[in-house]
C-alpha cells in the first residue's frame, strides 16, 4: 500500500501542478512570458538530467553536450518542417508528426553519440573532456555549412508545436526513465565505474560498454530536449548551441548537485528562472547577470556538492528494503545456480 502511494502521489502532484498553472494562466496571474520561461526551464531540466547521467552517475566529463542538443533540434526540425512541410500539416496529424520529429531528433543524437562514444570513451578525464568539447564545435561548424537547413543563417518557420503540457510530460518521462535506468543493473554498473573504475573492472564489469550505454542514452535524451527547444523557439541557429550553452548546462548540473536527479531538476529550474526573475528589479537591469553570478558563487560556497549533491527526494529513490527482500540474499537457502547469475 505504502509503495503504491509512493508511486502515485508524485504523479498526482504533477497533474495538480499542471492544472494549477493552467488556472493561474486563465485568471491572468501568469502570462505567456511566464509560461515560456517555464518551458525553457523544462528543456534545461531534461538537458541537465541527460548531462547528469554522463557526468554525475557515470563519472565521465562531457563538456560539449550542446552538440547533442543541436543534433536533436535539427533532426526534429528537419522531420517536422522540411519533410512534413511545417505549417501545412493537417491539424490532426500534427501531434504524430511532432512526436516522430522528437524521436528522430533523439535517434540522430543517440546514433552520433554511439559513433563518437566508441573511440572516445576509451579516454579518461581531461582527454575525454577535450574530445567532447571538440565534438560540440565540430557539430556547430558542420551545421553552419549545410545549405538546405539554412547554414549559418539558421532554420526559420519551425512550427511551434511544443506547449507547456508537452514539456511537463517529457520532464516527468525523462525523470522516470532516468531513475529506472540508474537503479537498474546497467545504472548500478555506471555508478560503480564512477566510484572506482579499476575496482569495477576487477568485479567483471565491461567498463567501456557501460560508459557507451550511458553516453548514448544521455545523447538520446539530449536530442529529444533539443527537439522540444526547436519547437518552442521556431527558429534555430548553429551558434545557439555553442560552448556557452554547454557551459550553462554544466553550471545547472553542478549548482544542482551531481549524482542527484532532484538536483538536476532544482538546478535547471532555479537557474533558468532566476535571471528572468531578476528583471523585476527594474533599475537593476544592468546588474542582473552580476547578481546571478554572485548567487552561483554563494551556492557553491555553502553547498560545495551543489544544492542536493548525493541527496534524492523519496520518490526518485529506489526502495532499497523491497529490493533486498526480493533479492536472493534475503533467503535462507540459495541454489548454487543462482549465484553464477
Amino acid at each position: 500500500m505504502k509503495s503504491i502511494i509512493r508511486k502515485i502521489l508524485p504523479l498526482i502532484g504533477v497533474v495538480a501542478l499542471y492544472y494549477l498553472i493552467m488556472y493561474l494562466k486563465s485568471i491572468k496571474v501568469m502570462n505567456p512570458y511566464h509560461i515560456q520561461v517555464l518551458m525553457f526551464a523544462g528543456v534545461n531540466i531534461i538537458m541537465t538530467i541527460s548531462l547528469n547521467i554522463v557526468n554525475g552517475f557515470t563519472g565521465q566529463f562531457c563538456i560539449g553536450h550542446a552538440g547533442f542538443m543541436s543534433l536533436g533540434a535539427y533532426g526534429a526540425s528537419i522531420v517536422t518542417t522540411l519533410i512534413f512541410g511545417g505549417f501545412s500539416v493537417a491539424p490532426n496529424l500534427r501531434i504524430p508528426v511532432f512526436l516522430l520529429g522528437l524521436l528522430a531528433g533523439g535517434l540522430v543524437a543517440g546514433a552520433v553519440g554511439l559513433l563518437i562514444g566508441i573511440p572516445t570513451l576509451k579516454l579518461k578525464g581531461d582527454y575525454l573532456a577535450i574530445v567532447t568539447l571538440a565534438f560540440g564545435e565540430i557539430v556547430r561548424a558542420t551545421l553552419r555549412l549545410i545549405e538546405p537547413i539554412g547554414a549559418a543563417r539558421g532554420m526559420i518557420g519551425i512550427p511551434p508545436y511544443t506547449n507547456f503540457a508537452w514539456v511537463l510530460f517529457f520532464v516527468v518521462l525523462t525523470l522516470i526513465v532516468a531513475r529506472n535506468f540508474i537503479y537498474s543493473k546497467h545504472g548500478r554498473a555506471c555508478i560503480a565505474i564512477r566510484d572506482n573504475e579499476i575496482a569495477a573492472d576487477a568485479m567483471g564489469i565491461n567498463t567501456t560498454k557501460y560508459k557507451i550505454i550511458s553516453f548514448v542514452f544521455a545523447a538520446f535524451i539530449a536530442g529529444v530536449a533539443g527537439g522540444l527547444y526547436a519547437h518552442v523557439m521556431s527558429f534555430i541557429q548553429p551558434d545557439t548551441f555553442s560552448f556557452v550553452k554547454s557551459s550553462d548546462l554544466l553550471v545547472y548540473l553542478y549548482a544542482g548537485g551531481t549524482g542527484s536527479l532532484t538536483g538536476s531538476v532544482l538546478g535547471g529550474l532555479l537557474l533558468t528562472v532566476l535571471p528572468e526573475a531578476l528583471r523585476a528589479f527594474g533599475n537593476l537591469v544592468n546588474w542582473r547577470i552580476v547578481i546571478y553570478a554572485v548567487t552561483l558563487v554563494i551556492i557553491m560556497l555553502y553547498r560545495p556538492l551543489g544544492l542536493c549533491g548525493g541527496k534524492e527526494l523519496p520518490f526518485l529513490k529506489i526502495n532499497r528494503k523491497s529490493l533486498y527482500e526480493k533479492s536472493i540474499f534475503s533467503r535462507k537457502t540459495i541454489h548454487p545456480s543462482e549465484i553464477s547469475n
Binding site: P32, Y33, Q36, R144, A152, G154, F235, P238, D239, R288
Partner: protein, 387 residues
C-alpha cells in the same frame, strides 16, 4: 482692507488650482510604455551601452515635453529597458515579457538580426510593432507586417561599398568574411553581386566561422598573395581590429573597406592608427555631418555622456525610438494596430542621419555616409551616398 486681500488671493489661488486641474484632466492620457531591448550584458555589451544611451536621450526630450501629443491628448511615455544578452532565446523571453506583462505599445530593438528573427514571430502574432535598430538582414521585415527597422538593409551597404570601390578606380577586390554570421554573409553576397555587375573582379574570397576566432593569418596570407587593389571586410565589431592588424602584418597595404559594424571609436583604438589609416567604411551616420539636426543630436549626446561621441548604434536606437514616437503622434487610434499603421506611413521625418521615409516593405529609405580613417586613426566624413 487686509481681509479683502486675503480673500482675493485665496480666490486667485483656487482658480489657478482648478484651471490647472481642468487642463491636466482634459489633456493627459494614460501612460504609454515603450520596450527597449538591447544587449546590456554578454558579448555585445558595448553596443548595448550606446543603444541605451541613445534611447535615454529621447526619453529626456519626451520627459521635458511631458509626453507625446496625439489629437489634443498628451500621453506620457515610459521606457522599459531589458537585457537580451545578445542571445536568441533570451530575446524571445524579453519580447514575451514586454508584450504580455508590461503591455508595451511598441518595441525598440534588439540590434542583431538573428535575435529579432527569433523573437519577431512573437511580436507579429501578438500584433505589437517592433523596430529593429541595427537589424540589416533582409529577412527581418519579411517575418510580418508588424516588423520594422531603423537601418538600411545589407544589400544596400554591399552596393554602396561596391559603388565606392569601383568609383575609386579599384579594378580588383578580395573579401574576408564570417560565414557564420548573417550580417557578414549578407554584405559579402551583395558586394560581390554589385561589384561584378559594375565590371570589377573578385580575386580572392576567404571565410572563417564563429565570433571566437582570433587568428586570421591563414586567410590573410592567401589574400595578400592574390594582390587585390582593395579588401572588403564586412565583419563584426570585436573581430575587425585584429583583422586590420593582421592584414597589415601580412603585407596587405591596399585600402580596407568595411561595413557599418566598424562604426565605433574603439575599432581604431584597438587596431592602431598606423594600421587603419586610409581605410573606409559605410556608416548610417557621421557626427561630422554639417546638418543642423545631426549637430544638435551630437551635441546633446556629448553633453549627456561626458563628451562621448554617438556611434551608429546610438543614432539608430534614437531614430527607432523617434519613429515609434512619431507614429504614436499620428496614430488614428492610440493602440498597437494604430501605431503600426502610422509607422508604415512615416514620410519625410527629419532625423539626425537625414530624412527618413518608410518604404513599401517596411524598410526605411535613407542615405549612407562614407567615412575614412585619417593618420591619427580618426574617422572623418568623406561623402554621402543616396539610394
Amino acid at each position: 482692507m487686509k481681509k479683502i486681500y486675503v480673500v482675493l488671493s485665496v480666490l486667485v489661488l483656487l482658480t489657478m488650482l482648478v484651471s490647472v486641474a481642468a487642463v491636466s484632466a482634459a489633456e493627459t492620457g494614460e501612460t504609454l510604455k515603450i520596450g527597449v531591448v538591447s544587449p546590456i550584458s554578454g558579448s555585445a555589451a558595448l553596443a548595448g551601452k550606446y543603444i541605451v544611451n541613445g534611447v535615454k536621450l529621447l526619453e529626456n526630450e519626451l520627459n521635458a515635453a511631458g509626453g507625446v501629443m496625439n489629437n489634443g491628448v498628451l500621453y506620457p511615455i515610459e521606457f522599459v529597458y531589458e537585457d537580451n544578452e545578445a542571445k536568441e532565446d533570451i530575446t524571445t523571453n524579453v519580447y514575451q515579457k514586454l508584450i504580455y506583462q508590461d503591455e508595451v505599445i511598441g518595441i525598440v530593438g534588439p540590434d542583431m538580426s538573428k535575435c529579432i528573427l527569433a523573437a519577431g514571430t512573437i511580436a507579429q502574432s501578438a500584433g505589437c510593432p517592433a523596430i529593429g535598430t541595427f537589424t540589416t538582414n533582409v529577412a527581418v521585415t519579411q517575418v510580418g507586417d508588424y516588423l520594422f527597422r531603423a537601418c538600411f538593409i545589407d544589400p544596400f551597404q554591399g552596393q554602396v561599398a561596391a559603388t565606392y570601390a569601383w568609383g575609386e578606380g579599384y579594378k580588383t577586390a578580395a573579401v574576408l568574411y564570417n560565414n557564420a554570421d548573417a550580417y557578414s554573409k549578407g554584405l559579402y553576397e551583395a558586394f560581390v553581386q554589385s561589384y561584378e555587375a559594375l565590371g570589377g573582379k573578385i580575386v580572392e574570397t576567404q571565410a572563417y566561422s564563429g565570433a571566437d576566432v582570433k587568428d586570421y593569418n591563414v586567410q590573410l596570407t592567401k589574400i595578400a598573395a592574390a594582390k587585390p587593389e582593395c579588401v572588403f571586410m564586412p565583419n563584426l565589431l570585436n573581430e575587425v581590429p585584429l583583422q586590420v592588424q593582421q592584414a597589415r602584418a601580412n603585407g596587405i597595404t591596399v585600402p580596407l573597406i568595411g561595413g557599418d559594424s566598424w562604426d565605433t571609436p574603439e575599432v581604431a583604438q584597438v587596431a592602431g592608427a598606423e594600421n587603419i589609416k586610409g581605410s573606409v567604411y559605410i556608416s548610417a551616420f557621421s557626427p561630422d555631418n554639417p546638418d543642423p539636426i545631426a549637430q544638435k543630436f551630437v551635441n546633446d549626446f556629448k553633453t549627456a555622456y561626458n563628451g562621448d561621441v554617438p556611434n551608429s548604434n546610438a543614432v539608430l536606437a534614437y531614430e527607432a525610438g523617434a519613429m515609434l514616437v512619431e507614429a504614436i503622434k499620428n496614430a488614428k487610434t492610440v493602440d498597437r494596430a494604430g501605431v503600426r499603421d502610422a509607422l508604415a506611413q512615416i514620410e519625410g521625418l527629419a532625423l539626425p542621419s537625414g530624412v527618413v521615409t518608410v518604404g513599401e516593405d517596411r524598410n526605411p529609405i535613407k542615405g549612407a555616409a562614407i567615412l575614412q580613417y585619417n593618420d591619427q586613426g580618426v574617422a572623418t566624413f568623406l561623402k554621402n551616398v543616396n539610394p
